[in-house]
Symmetry: D2
Subunit: 350 residues, 4 copies
């Protein structure tokens, strides 16, 4: 089939660049629109972007013009949003109102009642909120969000455990990569010979987003999952790849072997459909006690898989494990793209 035209909102930022990198060779989508702020609008993308990825800027994209991020400026109906939260709050509804299909990595509307917050493996049925959203808001288009980068990988590991054993309590301590704050983001003086605890809303996102995503869609509303999460969040001197140390209490007894098996056998709709960006397996379990490690494991499954290790008993809750995932691929741009692939496959992008 011919490729579907797509645009990127916030194309010059770090997540915008990741969208470009992942979409440049995409079999189903073709980048046609790059939208950004006034500073860049009207110029050639290659002339305005400060490219920060080690994968090179695709030559064909470098030639594209940047347009102002405003409704009416985008030809593509499907838009991926890498906007900062404040701009997303204003612009995403405006685009959706004009009939665009928005897949957003921004935090602005993640917790809105009628906005599906979706990880394609975990809760694709929440996409049915779109009808309610369109009715509520009078939109022809829609807005689908993906979760915070740190929450995404945690949820990817909680889901199979929830299905198998039920979850009562989750304690998670994150060691997050610098790229999670975008560019310029964290000053180097903060991360040379240092780490920085998170001050702002990161822990709050970790306390709420998993409960929405792991909740049930009932009568047009998401009934949140009812376990408790305590998240301690930190920034560490790593470029890409969020590491999380997890302790968990289950509703039903589990053995180490069962837990590992449940992770390894976790195959869901994206894997069954063979979506282009779906990692298979979705979760990779490593046996060595010194894994996962960010540098060595973040590109597992092309950066779309979650890597788990160190499954061992906990003296306080029931079990413990460590997880690692790429924060700007699966945790941001790649997660949005996978959502769009699923909806395209399901015929919901036309």
């Amino acid at each position: 089939m011919s490729r579907i035209p797509v645009g990127i909102l916030g194309a010059t930022g770090a997540v915008g660049q990741r969208f470009i990198s992942l979409l440049a060779e995409h079999p189903w989508f073709q980048i046609t629109d790059l939208l950004a702020s006034e500073r860049s609008a009207g110029k050639r993308y290659g002339d305005v972007v400060k490219w920060v990825l080690d994968a090179p800027l695709p030559a064909s994209v470098a030639e594209l013009p940047v347009r102002l991020a405003q409704p009416g400026q985008a030809d593509a109906r499907v838009l991926f949003s890498a906007l900062p939260a404040a701009q997303a709050r204003e612009l995403e509804p405006a685009f959706a109102a004009k009939g665009h299909f928005l897949f957003s990595n921004a935090s602005a509307y993640r917790m809105a009642d009628d906005v599906p917050l979706v990880i394609a493996e975990v809760n694709p049925e929440h996409l049915n909120l779109i009808e309610i959203q369109q009715a509520n808001r009078g939109w022809e288009g829609f807005l689908v969000c993906n979760a915070n980068c740190t929450a995404t990988h945690l949820i990817c590991t909680l889901h199979p455990l929830q299905l198998a054993f039920g979850i009562e309590q989750v304690m998670v301590v994150s060691m997050q990569a610098a790229s999670g704050a975008g560019y310029p983001g964290v000053p180097s003086m903060d991360l040379i010979d240092n780490l920085v605890p998170h001050t702002y809303g990161e822990e709050k996102k970790m306390h709420t987003e998993p409960l929405k995503i792991l909740g049930a869609l009932e009568n047009g509303r998401v009934r949140f999952a009812d376990f408790h999460i305590s998240a301690h969040c930190h920034r560490v001197p790593v470029l890409d790849g969020h590491f999380e140390a997890v302790s968990i209490a289950f509703s039903r007894a589990a053995t180490r072997e069962q837990i590992v098996e449940v992770f390894r056998e976790y195959r869901r709709l994206p894997q069954e459909l063979g979506l282009p960006s779906a990692p298979d397996p979705a979760i990779v379990v490593r046996e060595a006690m010194d894994r996962p490690q960010p540098r060595l494991d973040r590109m597992t499954g092309g950066g779309m898989a979650t890597v788990v290790g160190r499954v061992r008993p906990c003296n306080v809750l029931d079990w413990r494990y460590a997880l690692l995932g790429h924060n700007t691929i699966r945790g941001a741009a790649g997660g949005s793209i996978l959502n769009a692939e699923l909806m395209l496959y399901q015929g919901r992008l036309s």
Copy 2:
């Protein structure tokens, strides 16, 4: 008074260097003996040491000869041990048998029934195990241990909480500095753009040492504290300063204000006696949510204090906080020296 001669076992390693740096200007102790392996014995210290501290090698110490770490080679009765565990296992008893007073940072005998594992503020009464130790083993000298660097700072914060509220459960996730592994220690390829979970006994030490130190000496034995600890341990790209994220359940209800007050009012024997290495306050509470940070806070109290911050409620246990402490000062050499200062003050080093 004239200064007491002291020696250092394992003088060329990273912790040995820290002993030297802290003792070079000490008001009560004078370095007279440097003991190391065959590789260095017989040579001038300045010619064999690969000095790794930013504080410069004291010129007077550089001139001292290195002797072989064997009983009979040390003139000083008081010895500080920075030996690796395997060598400590063999050599420390041999020195104690010859009448030396050993203050050891090694892990070899920390958990032995008749070896006091002491933090001067927390359990100085455990030093009374020495009589039993000497009777058991027929030693004229003795062996006193200090705790693992990561455990030490955790314990420094648990003790006032235990006294005030009682402790039921502790969850702790460490982000430990490279210097905790000594020199050469962790390869740089492991800590550039990366972090490494601990594979070996670090978590086990965290599960046991606090319970011994926070236990009660009864009838010549330590009755271990009976709460549960779950420790997840990791190495991060930081030079000095271990950071720990803690969640804790108390026996009795506590408010944030009470917790902060309990930390701030924690003054114990070393502070009351004004021992030279005693930090005062022992615990520093910082209010900013982005503190403590290793680079900014590790030298608090000359590297002898523990810095606490981020006191906030926990969704799973009761309360949460973060702590930071210098791993090779209070967490290693400085802790040993403080123990020796206390015993010298009490007249037990003669």
Copy 3:
């Protein structure tokens, strides 16, 4: 004597903080005025500063109010300027016109004909330009600049060589610390597993400032030194301490022993007068081929000395050496303070 009141222009930035840290316990100067932009003016310093030094914010300074950086707002006659270049260009003349004595770390006026660009050891006689400056500009006050941080330490090593052997050619390659760019400065994504060549004026400053400082004041003008400098400049993942690899061609033959001796015997006016911030020795020569190193050597002489090593023959020019110096102490705030100490000693600050 009672301490002289001084103010700091641009007090909240990274160099402003270094001024505060160095002046808080200064025997001759007392901080009375903190001046900054509108964002901070009118507030308590401790409430607005994002303190980035590992030395803690002095408690007495935290209580001071911040005033707007405008003439009329400062009580102190002596002002140290840590302003960004653009603001310095506008504000420094305004303050000097009002009678203030400005010691500026900014680059704005370094190369102006009637502004002395001074390293206290190297060209104190250039301070006589002040009379011409005051006559030219009708100022009651004056403006004295110190050099770029990378140039400063190079010049400190060139001066004794110039005096002893004459200089024909200098090739210098810098590896500069992150703090040289201030805070927030360099994004951490640029310096994790990476280094960045300098794009802007850094190399140009290195090509010109040394020639002015090493030039002769003749008939009211500086006749620039007439050798050639080629500087390649780079930012590396180091917090503090600029490292420079130097090759040099002399006018007269030199031996290794002579070069080392010339460095070691370099004592100048600040050392002879025993100024409070003067390092003595001014240049420290280290023999080990793997020194200097930023972390180990930058605090030599309290961060005011320049450390030299690796003196060895060059296959292209005559001799080679490496140097290291603290960029925000001697290379910025400390250099300004030493200039002020010299002028105070000489009775020129009243």
Copy 4:
């Protein structure tokens, strides 16, 4: 054609791993033999290797047995050597004597008169030394070396300049990645907030290897190129990718445009033959003044190209530029493999 069996000497080290990673999917070669020290011999490769590359260990190679690195243990005639210098000195001649074709990354025999030191683009004609080598030493096999990692990329840029303009003098200052020292290699305490000048033979290699490789084979001997090189070498906190700042004096005048054109048009035998590992272009010139950078540019041409930038005039010599190249791909394993590809293409591996 069916793939040629090859073996790797020193298969468990960091360079050995890079050989495996590059050869696992090679169209012409197939890994059949993994040879290492007694510690690993007799075990499954996947069980003994501490894999340090972010590219995962190929599953098929993990299953191979490791044999003792001794003649008689290797079935493959073609061997790639990643041995440490001391072991290479002993073992490489022993293997060559037994008829093996050795492509060595070790430094032991690089400067031997009858050993070709080859970069495939630069001096393939030096491979004719093999006949003399075999005659001299009575070997059925042979030994071909590739250059030091830092020298390799310098030479790749010097060669086109030598051809076009002639070279008189070269000044080069390196900032080398940690992986150049292998694993465990550089301690992390040396590279956190620090850089380390090279103490050992690195500068000497830079002074001699380029002159041999850029020399002419005349009457069975290499007449060394006769220009002068001054190399200052340093280790910086970067994982992969050596950066070098170069100043150069030419025999004939050159313009910036000519230099850039000469770099861009540099196509040699490997490019003309389309050898599998040959980068095309061999040299990539980047225009932005802040490039090359290690993290962004090291994988150019699959890690086989050299990236050049910052071409600008020099105040001391004639011109300046910066270069960057991957040290363990083109600078080590990849360079050896390219040499082997060339000889296989030429029919000299049978």
